[in-house]
Structures are given as C-alpha cells and as structure tokens.
Amino acid sequence: MDRREFIKKLGLGSAAVGTAAVVGCKGGSQEEVGHSLQDVPKGQMTLRENHNSGDKVSILGYGCMRWPTKKGKDGNEEMDQEQINRLIDTALEYGVNYFDTSPVYCQGQSERATGIALSRHPRESYYIATKMSNFSPDTQSKEASIAMYKNSLKELQTDYLDYMLLHSVGGSMEDYQQRFVDNGILDYLMEERKAGRIRNLGFSFHGQQSVFDAMMELHDTVHWDFVQIQMNYLDWFHANEMNSFNVDASYLYDELTKRDIPVVIMEPLLGGRLSKVNGSVLRMLKAKEPDRTAASWAFRYCGSYPNVLTALSGMTYMEHLVDNLHSFCPLKPLTDEERSYLEDDVANEILKYPTIPCTACQYCMPCPYGLDIPGIFAHYNKCINEGLMPSSTQDPDYQKLRKAFLVGYDRSVPKLRQANHCIECCRCLEHCPQKIEIPNEMHKIDEYVEKLKQGLEL
C-alpha cells in the first residue's frame, strides 16, 4: 500500500470510528474504576486449574523477558534487581503465581534475576516455567543441552521446575528433530518428568500449521502437559493474513482444546501493539470502557477463553502490573458481543495501519552489524500509529512532519544503528518469531528516510 492510499484509508478509518463511537456510547460502563495498587482487592486473583497436575495457576502470568535494567557502575546496562524484587513481591502478594523465563532472555540474565527475587519466598508459593533454548548449534549436543537445563535449575535456585518448554517450535520439523529428538534431549526431559523434577512438559509455538499438526500427532506418545501459543484478538483471525507463515490463534486454541491440553498465552499484547494503539482504535475501546486502558481489553480477551491456563505479560514497570491486576482481580470475562467487537471491528481498524508486526521480543538481537532492529521498527510504527508520516511533499504539514520523523529517528536510534547500515546478511530472519522480513523492511524504511532527507516526492 503506498502512502497516498494509506492516508486515504486513514481518513475513512476516522470516519468509521466516528460512527462506531456514537453507537458505542450507550454501552459505556458507569462503574468507578480504580487506578492505583491500593484499589486492587487482595485474594481476588482469578485462578485456573491445570487438570494434569492440579496446579491452581493465576490467570495473569509474569513474563520475565522484559525486566527493567539500569546503568551499572561500568556504564553498561544491568538488571535492576531492586526493582525486580519489588515487582515480584507485589505480584505474589496479589496472587500472581506463574513466572515464565528462559536461559536466553534479557541477554541471558533473566533466570538469575528471577531466581534471586523468587528464592526470597517459599518455593511452594509459585510456579516456575523455563525453557530448553538450545538455538545455537553449539548448545544442541545432548551434553550442552543438559548443561543448559541444569544451569536453569541452579540459576532459579530450585531442584524442580513446574513447567518446562521446548522453546520456539514451529519453523520446521527438521529443526525440531535436530534440536530435541536426534540428540535425545526430549527423552531425557521426559525421564526428568517421570522423576518429578519437571512437573509439566510442553512447548512454545511460533510458525507453520503443518508443524503444529505434526506436534499434535506426537501428543499420544509424548503427552504435552501444556502448550504455549501466541494469542490475542488480532492473531485470532488475522495471524495468517498478516504473515502466511503463521497460524491463526483460533485454529491453535481449538486444536489444543479438542485434546484437552491447557493453553498458556504469550504476546497477549503483541509486544505493546495492542496497548499503544492509534487514536481511532483507542476511541473505539474507550467508547466502551472510558476508564480502562487499551491493554486491559487485550488481557480480558485472553482470560475469557476457559481453556487458557494463564496469560503472560512482560510487566517491566509497576504501572503495567497494577493495570493488569485491575483486569484480573477478579477477571470479568468479556461477553460474546464484546469479544466479537474486538476480533472484528477493532482488529480491522488496527489492520488499517500498515505497522510492522514487531513485538520487540529482541530475539533478532544483537544484530552482528550493530543495527537496533526493534528500535527502528518502534520509531516507524509510532509514526504510522500517530499519523506522523507525511504522505507527499504537497502535504501542508510536510515540513513539520518531515522534521519530526527525522529528528525523532536520530533520537530513538543512534546514526550508526539505523536502517541504512543493514547489509542484508539475513541472519536475523531465522530468529524472528513473527517471521518479519527484516532486511526487506529495513530497506523500505531507509528508502523512505532517504526520500524525506532529500525532499523527494514520496
């Protein structure tokens, strides 16, 4: 879609929202909604039972891949342990009891930081989930993979794991075979499950339907205790439409439910794309619940599906945690009408904005050529969502928008880490769970930047 077309659609979009808002008014909730932690009732967290182990898991799970960092003494970023402790203490206090981490999160620092904070509480008061993240060929031998597993136990300061996942299955069955079957690590983990050191064994999934179907066929032999999928109201019907490599969440959820496998949800917010929404989308949501955040809709959406064990949220700051606690203490499930409003009306409005579906998961990083890939996408998406993309040099606001885009670009991404330095080595491609064609997008963004810089027609 070119810019002109995009702007036209934007115009139509706003008109559509106008109507929706008027119609939506009558459904507006009148109840007072609290915004601070003190307003959250304790002991009200909605719990879901895992029929495999009997665990009573909080519907809100803590995703430990976006922990806060701070500048260390040597000038480098390091984990902000003090804040992490505070977040985990608060989460436990209000009933969050599921913590999901991985050996590779936060540049490999997440397990340790999470372990330090959790070990200050009784072990039976929380569930730990971590993963077999043997992506690098160097870690794919049986010994290296077992070492990774043992190291997870050590870092998390525990002698058993509640939930263990084969990390990111879905690229191809060959990849699965190589990482988990040929080296015997799956057999090993199943033995560990038998021995009680792994209480639930499952996998996380990003990718193609054929792989998912094959994994489901393995259920009879392996018995997956749970499966983690990407699910939210945009991916429910549109994942495949946004990228043909991906499967609609509705399909994944239904297949799992059919087999009675509990579902853990990741990316309920699509890395913030469902919380930082465009104004017209926000208007649609606020028309229904003027005092609740856009994010709260996405979380309640996930919680409204009964087979969902927990929805993970990477809450970096206390306000994220507080907002989510409001959504889940207790959960007020969406009505069917509200659910379809999100799946259809709101999702379609979001799709009008040609943002790049980056969730800032950082799997592509570090780029060997120094680019800040998620940073570049974040700036680009922000400008699209806020309508800050000049569509033509004739645009009356062209000069203003041009400056805002370019200055903002330099501000959010250092010059040597910008899109024009992408050499298209394509090493990032295999890491991206969203299957974004990163080099291609970098090229397009740089072309747009060049046109702005040179004042050429867009």
Partner: protein
C-alpha cells in the same frame, strides 16, 4: 559616537559568532553577508565591490573596520574591557613598530603567494576568530543545546535535537587555545597590540587610514597635556606631549573623546589641532576557558556469557572507524580544485562548523593547516547538502546547486578487497552497491587470491567521490572501500 560604535560592534560580534555556532543552517541566510564583508576573505575571493567599499570607508572614516566589523578586534575590546575594570588609565603611548608591522605584512603576503596559506592564516584576524568560535565556543553551544534537547525529549518536543560534539582536530584546538591566551594577554595589557603590530589587515588599513578624511583632531588651544587620552588609548597611538595622533594605528574607538575633560578632542574633517585618547568599553560576550574534549562514544556492551548460547537482546559493539590513508585528499564539491581551495582558503572553519554530516574537518597537514578536507567516518557528503559552498566567504568553495553537485567528481572510490565483508564472510554484503547514489558500484564475480568471489567493483567514470560507500561499509576499523581525491574536480 562611542555608543554607536559599541552597538554596531556588538551586533557584528554576536552576528558572526552566531554564524559560527549555529548548526541548523538558518543563520547563514540572514548573516552570511557578515562573513563576506571581512577584508581578507574578500581579497581572496577577489570580491572587488567589498574591497572598494572597505577601502572607501577607511579613506573617509578611518579604521572603523577594526572596531566595528572585525570580530577579532571586537573580541580584543571585550578582553580589554575586563582589563580596564581591573585597572584604569592603563595604557601608554608607544612608537609605531613599523619594521615589525610591515615585516609581518610582507611575510604574510610572501607565504600566501608561496601557497602556504595555512601558515599565513595563523595571524589572519578573521580566520583566528573562526577557529576560536568553531573549536572553543561551538562545543559549549552544542552541549548547551544537547541539554535542552534532553529536556525537550522528555516533553516530546522536536524544537531541539541532539547533535554530536566531537573534536575535529587537535592541532586546531591547540592553536585556538593559544590564540585566545595570547590575545587575552596582549589585549589585557596593551589593548590593540595585535592589531597594530601583527595583523596584516590592520597594517594595510592603517596605511590607508593615514589619509582618511575624518580623523581624531586635537585642539591644541584646549589641550592641557594631562595625558588622560593617552592613558585610555588602547591603540597606544596618542602622543599627548606632542599633541599628535598616529592615524595609522587609530581604530576609531572614540574612547578618547569622552575621556578628555577639556573637550579638546573631536572627530572631524578640519584640523583643529591634534591629539586623541583611549579607553574602551563593550557589553557583550562571555569569557573563555580552555577545554579539551574528546568525544567518547558510549556504547552499550553485551554482557559476558559463560555458555556459547545465543541470547536475546543487546546491541553489538560498533568499533570506531579510522581515517584511511589517502594519496590525494578529498575537498568539497565547489572547491574546483585542491589548488583553488588552498589559494583562497583562510582556514576560518566556517564550512567545518556548518557541515551537517560531520564530513569536513580541518587539515592537520602543516602546509595547509586548518584548511578543510573531507573524511567519512561519521557521515558522508549527502546529495541534498550544499552548505560549505553557501557559507564560504573567500571563494575557496564556490556555491553550487544540488543538481550541479550530482555531476561534480571530487574523487573516486577504491576497493580494499582484503577487508571487504563480501569476501571475508558469507554474509553476502553488497551495501555499497545498494546505497551508491551515483549507481557507480556493482556486484560481480571477480577472482581474488585464486578464488571466485562475488564482490563490488567500481565504475570510476560514474563515481563522484561522495563517500557514501566509505561511510556505510561495515568493515571496521578500516572501510573496505574508500575515496581517493581528485586534484582537479571534473564532471561526470
């Protein structure tokens, strides 16, 4: 009259300083003429109109130029003003050191003719001021701006944006510091010592101003030889005992007129008698301090990992690029040729301070010290920019249009295949070929050390030497493709 002088001088000093400090490119539109009015740049640019104008002004009014237009002269007045605060009636009359003045002028002209402009401009007033403003004031200005930008960022405003502050050349910084210190000492102690003994422009204008129509006149009948005028003459040019003024050194500051309690001094056409006196005042600017700075680029480093696992997140460390050795230096489009640049450039640093892409920096080559040259570690000569030619007051870099620029060959790209990422890795790099704005680089299969490699080759005919490839090349610390300059700039 003194007030008028101070107001005009203030306007000029602020204007020219602003011209050097501004990095947004807006100042030049409004203030560019102030640089073009400078004497030496006008001579080098053969700007006949300005030269005739300045000489005429001097013939009519005397060396007003030195008090009102020359930024270095005004800067010295500022220094001297502080000196005067410390001690009043501080100056004495001294004889003109003509041998030194004319000797310096002769040396200056000889150096210019011999093509050693870099050395000659060490003593040229406008260039000296430029160096001070560019290497000492601009960093302060930019840091101040960056603080504002930081605040603006918090408020999500785009009114200010952050800029890189980096030391473009250590020698120039040292020279600027030395110049400031020397001038400060001279001005503090002796007022306009530099202007009347060293400055070649001062000497030339001094020669002219002997014959000026309007002069400081001494009414011998009113004069009581109190010597107050002499004690306040920053040019040390009033001989009160003989009631004479050395008009070649008087810079028309008019301080003496106000100082004389008997009203014996006036500025006019007719000879009343003679004598003049000094003192100065000025109301601008801040004092300077030395500052040595290197831009330390803080880069987030990746945490060390015991296991060889691939972890998520973090930024790769980017090694700084180093300046490659070039057989021939690269000078900006508009310079016409290296010779033209060297002949006309006074090393004032205006272009260096204006280059928005951090390409221009002063040469450290002794023969051409402080004249601009190009390198591409921090950016490249972008197609939409013609800033250096627009601001140059001497004609060393001529103004060109964006369209003309695309056809001017300032150099051509040369490959260092052993560093090339397309050769040394399997990453399939072809960035230089993709980004070349002239379409002068293509990827093809070539033999290299007995192997067939798919690597870039340069079409030297199409290449204009803009440095895009050198800047973007991922090979570090030395780019695998760099620009060799051309002595004479041709056309594509």
């Amino acid at each position: 009259m003194k007030k008028v002088r101070i107001i005009l001088a203030t306007v000029f000093l602020i204007g020219i300083t602003w011209l050097f400090l501004d990095f947004t490119g807006t100042a030049h539109t409004w203030l560019g003429w102030m640089a073009k009015l400078q004497f030496l740049p006008a001579v080098l640019a053969l700007n006949v109109g300005v030269i005739i104008g300045l000489v005429t002004i001097t013939l009519v009014l005397g060396r007003l130029y030195c008090s009102v237009i020359c930024p270095l002269g005004i800067l010295q007045d500022v220094f001297a003003w502080f000196g005067k605060k410390a001690k009043k009636n501080r100056y004495t009359y001294s004889k003109a050191k003509n041998w030194l003045r004319y000797g310096m002028l002769a040396l200056f002209v000889a150096l210019m003719v011999l093509g050693l402009a870099g050395v000659a401009t060490l003593i040229a007033p406008y260039s000296a001021f430029g160096r001070i403003a560019e290497s000492l004031l601009q960093p302060l200005w930019m840091w101040g701006n960056n603080v504002l930008a930081m605040l603006a960022e918090r408020a999500d405003s785009y009114a200010f944006y952050s800029v890189d502050v980096w030391m473009k050349s250590l020698p120039v910084l040292v020279i600027a510091v030395v110049t400031v210190v020397v001038l400060f000492v001279l001005a503090w102690r002796g007022g306009r010592t530099y202007c009347n003994t060293i400055c070649p422009v001062g000497t030339v204008l001094g020669f002219v101003s002997r014959f000026s129509l309007l002069k400081i006149r001494v009414d011998e009948q009113k004069c009581i030889k109190c010597g107050l005028c002499t004690k306040n003459c920053k040019a040390s040019c009033i001989d009160y005992k003989n009631m004479k003024v050395d008009y070649s050194r008087c810079v028309d500051c008019f301080d003496c007129i106000g100082k004389c309690k008997k009203g014996a001094l006036s500025y006019g056409v007719n000879s009343v008698n003679r004598a003049t006196k000094p003192n100065d005042a000025n109301g601008v600017d801040e004092s300077r301090r030395e500052l040595l700075t290197t831009t330390a680029v803080a880069l987030g480093a990746v945490a060390l990992e015991a296991q060889a696992k691939k972890v998520d997140g973090g930024l790769a460390v980017i090694e700084d690029k180093q300046v490659p050795k070039r057989g021939t230096k690269v000078v900006p489009p508009g310079a016409l040729s290296i010779k033209n640049l060297e002949d006309h450039c006074t090393g004032c640093q205006l272009c260096v301070s204006k280059c928005p892409n951090d390409v221009l920096r002063p040469s450290t080559d002794l023969m051409h010290l402080m004249q601009p040259e190009m390198s591409f570690e921090r950016g490249y000569c972008r197609p939409e920019c013609t800033a250096c030619g627009d601001v140059c007051p001497t004609g060393a870099i001529r103004p060109i249009s964006k369209e003309e620029k695309t056809a001017i060959k300032i150099g051509h790209a040369v490959l260092v295949r052993k560093n090339c990422v397309a050769v040394t890795t399997d990453d399939g790099c072809g960035l230089c070929a993709t980004k070349c704005p002239a379409g002068a680089i293509m990827m093809t299969t070539v033999e290299y050390e007995g192997k067939s490699v798919y690597a870039p080759v340069v079409d030297e005919e199409k290449c204009i030497g803009c440095g895009t490839c050198e800047h973007l090349c991922p090979a570090r610390p030395f780019a695998a493709i760099y620009v060799e300059g051309h002595e004479v700039h041709g056309e594509v």
